[in-house]
């Protein structure tokens, strides 16, 4: 009898120790790019596993192959991914081709409000059509292109004096793109600590999206617009406006004057490598790299500073990065996937997410009074997030993107033709895509 009691007590203890939802525990697979934040998400998701009993698996693909691999998966109706942290530009395709589950009913049921997130991230990562309250994702990772600079080099008295004499102002983070080019020119080919260094590492990659994500930071600020604000898909005079041409010429001039030799096909990782190895004074890159730079033994801490993309003559914008998290419509575990989103949308999880190396887009996290001073880069991050602009998110975004990659790379890197010809060609390509889509 005593033994029976003991056994019953043990069973009761074991059962009560099991997660509440164990009876319907699912194996969920989350698909994302292979980068530092993904590792942080793996750690963060252990809390979800412990609380729900669901088991999380992850499919991470390196950035250069991410779009190819994941869009193939979605286009083929694959069941590999239950949750997809897809790029912001995929949202149109995800919605229109039926790859993503529409989340409005779920958000309403669970009381998840998009007002709790940075508005630009809601537009960029969750809405389709843009500007309408139709949500296909929850903002998951807020990111934006910004700049990193060698604070230790900037603070060298001899360099400060020389710069002031040459340009008539202090050697400090630039306020305009022209100032940025001056700084990059100043450092190009200079000998610092016995090593030849260069001005800036910028995006020049051709194969995926690199050079587009870089050049837009100049184009936007010189007056480039994707379309006539009053007439959708009317591109002539907006994509190839005088300002846009000047912006493209600026980016080429920056590439020609101030980048390291052999940087004709560089994107995120190459820029990081160049900066961390002490080759460049300035680095263009998405803000996700900032925690890594700050922690780096060679260039971290006080040696580096961060600033938002500088203004141009016709605006002050920065290229939006980042992603939203969506439930894949082909998943057999949609309920569990929605549970994950519900868990992820909690303010305390979002705060933990940022603390672990993620980048929450939740306002309660980024608008907290102590947020700007928590890290050396939070202020630059907030300034950058306030000026974001994104690429097309149309279902044909891939065609639009690759055309821009080709046209811009040909002009900026290969030096073929003029900026006007490149942008006129881009108008032709994009018009053809929209005609094929029946939008023109």
């Amino acid at each position: 009898m005593k033994k029976a009691h003991l056994f019953a007590a043990a069973m009761l203890t074991a059962v009560s120790a099991m997660p509440a939802h164990d009876a319907r525990a699912d194996d969920l697979t989350l698909c994302w790019a292979a980068w530092d934040p993904a590792n942080a998400l793996v750690e963060l998701s252990k809390d979800f596993e412990a609380k729900t009993g669901h088991k999380m698996s992850f499919e991470f693909v390196p950035w250069p192959n991410f779009a190819d691999r994941m869009l193939n998966e979605l286009n083929s109706g694959g069941k590999l991914c239950d949750l997809m942290i897809g790029d912001s530009q995929w949202i149109g395709l995800g919605a229109e081709a039926g790859h993503y589950v529409k989340l409005n009913p779920f958000f309403e049921k669970e009381g998840i409000s998009m007002d709790d997130f940075i508005p630009a991230t809601v537009t960029g990562y969750a809405e389709w059509p843009k500007g309408t309250p139709n949500y296909w994702a929850l903002p998951a990772y807020a990111d934006v292109v910004g700049w990193t600079y060698r604070k230790d080099w900037f603070s060298k008295p001899e360099l400060q004096a020389e710069f002031k004499e040459k340009y008539g102002r202090d050697l400090a983070p630039p306020q305009t793109l022209e100032e940025l080019k001056d700084i990059a020119t100043f450092f190009q080919g200079r000998e610092i600590d016995g090593k030849t260094v260069y001005g800036a590492a910028i995006y020049t990659e051709r194969g995926s999206e690199g050079i587009t994500m870089g050049v837009t930071n100049a184009l936007y600020n010189y007056g480039f617009k994707y379309e006539n604000p009053d007439k959708p898909y009317d591109l002539q005079g907006y994509v190839n406006s005088k300002g846009a041409v000047a912006g493209l010429e600026f980016y080429k001039a920056l590439y020609d004057c101030c980048t390291p030799p052999g940087s004709s096909d560089w994107y995120m990782s190459e820029d990081i490598d160049a900066y961390k190895s002490g080759q460049v004074a300035l680095q263009m890159n998405f803000a996700f790299i900032w925690p890594g730079v700050n922690a780096d033994p060679n260039v971290g801490g006080d040696k580096s500073g961060y600033f938002a993309n500088p203004a141009g003559p016709d605006g002050h914008f920065a290229q939006l990065g980042g992603q939203g998290i969506s439930v894949v419509s082909y998943s057999d575990h949609q309920d569990a996937a929605l549970e994950y989103i519900k868990w992820f949308a909690q303010p305390e999880i979002q705060a933990k997410w940022t603390a672990m190396g993620g980048a929450s887009a939740m306002r309660s996290v980024v608008e907290a009074p102590d947020f700007p001073d928590k890290t050396p880069f939070n202020k630059a991050f907030l300034e950058s997030m306030a000026i974001v602009k994104d690429f097309w998110a149309e279902p044909s975004y891939a065609s639009l993107l690759l055309s821009m990659q080709d046209r811009v790379h040909k002009y900026v890197i290969a030096g073929e033709g003029t900026a006007q010809e490149a942008l006129d060609g881009l108008v032709e390509d994009w018009t053809e895509v929209f005609e094929d889509d029946g939008k023109l």
């Binding site: 193939n72 081709a97 194969g207 390291p260 030799p261 096909d265 080709d406 002009y411 890197i413 290969a414």
Partner: protein, 315 residues
């Protein structure tokens, strides 16, 4: 017990099967044997080809399975043939094809001729020379990007050592005028051994007696080379050119790893362009037309070449 292998097989056929095939004509049995092959050929070669031809006349996009597919006639073909960028990729492919073949034939034949001379360490040298072609193209592409790096690359330092130029003053894969040569150099480095091996087989197939007869006739070494060696190795050489030509026409992996098709589209070969259209832009109808044009081109050129090869063999 006597009889041929066929008798043995016939005796070993189970009676049930034997009864079933009894009365079938030889022709019917032949059909039974070839039917699986024909079925596979139809399923994995002929049907996809016909399907591609059909798609090339439509606006179909594989990433929009629910979208309406319309018949657009020859519009895809007109667009491709009228697109200046596609002609540039054709030019880039022709440049790559021509120079890789010329260099590989010249160097491959020279190496084969040298290796064919009897000397100590002959086998060791052969092994060393064929090593590059045993490597994966992705690996080769990757490490050559490092060799070509202006700041740390060995290639630039060797050129700098030989010419006195600053190693950081030129970028093999970032410069429009150098990038087409950068891919030619790597492909030649990797695949010359293949041409060498085929030429070596040709050289070793020439009987010594022919050279001995030429010696008796007091033919000079130079004359022996042009009247015996070259004509007898030519069919082998042409076969090597055919193999390398077909391979390089569809070259993809090595060049993608090296340059990604850049700078601009200087090294965008047709296969790279086709892949972008088909699986990145998802213009399935358009890329089907593109593939058909390339197929017809390769098929036409290969047919002419094979005819020429057969004529050379018959001589």
């Amino acid at each position: 017990m006597s009889g041929t292998t066929i008798d043995h097989v016939a005796r070993a056929t189970p009676p049930k099967v034997a009864r079933r095939i009894k009365g079938l004509s030889d022709r019917a049995i032949a059909w039974i044997f070839v039917a699986p092959t024909i079925f596979l050929l139809l399923a994995i070669n002929i049907f996809p080809l016909l399907w591609t031809i059909y798609l090339s006349f439509t606006n179909y996009r594989a990433n929009r399975p629910n979208a309406e597919v319309s018949w657009i006639g020859t519009r895809n073909y007109e667009r491709i043939l009228g697109d200046a960028d596609i002609w540039l990729t054709m030019q880039a492919t022709a440049h790559f094809l021509f120079w890789t073949l010329v260099l590989q034939v010249l160097i491959g034949f020279t190496l084969a001729w040298l290796i064919n001379q009897k000397f100590k360490g002959n086998d060791l040298w052969t092994t060393i020379i064929v090593l590059p072609m045993m490597l994966s193209p992705a690996v080769v592409g990757n490490f050559w990007t490092f060799l070509y790096q202006p700041q740390i690359g060995l290639f630039n330092y060797v050129v700098a050592f030989l010419t006195g130029a600053d190693p950081t003053s030129f970028s093999m894969i970032g410069d429009v005028s150098l990038a087409p040569w950068a891919i030619v150099i790597v492909d030649t480095w990797m695949w010359t051994p293949f041409v060498m091996l085929i030429c070596l087989a040709g050289l070793r197939s020439i009987p010594d007696s022919i050279y001995e007869a030429a010696e008796c006739d007091r033919a000079s070494k130079w004359r022996q080379f042009w009247t015996i060696t070259v004509p007898m190795v030519l069919p082998f050489l042409m076969l090597a050119v055919l193999f390398r030509g077909i391979e390089n026409f569809k070259m993809f992996d090595l060049v993608v790893q090296l340059t990604g098709g850049g700078p601009g589209n200087t090294t965008t070969l047709t296969s790279i362009d086709l892949k972008r259209e088909a699986f990145e832009k998802w213009r399935t109808g358009y890329s089907s037309a593109y593939a058909i044009i390339l197929f017809v081109t390769v098929f036409g050129l290969a047919s002419i070449y094979v005819k020429a090869l057969n004529k050379v063999k018959e001589r």
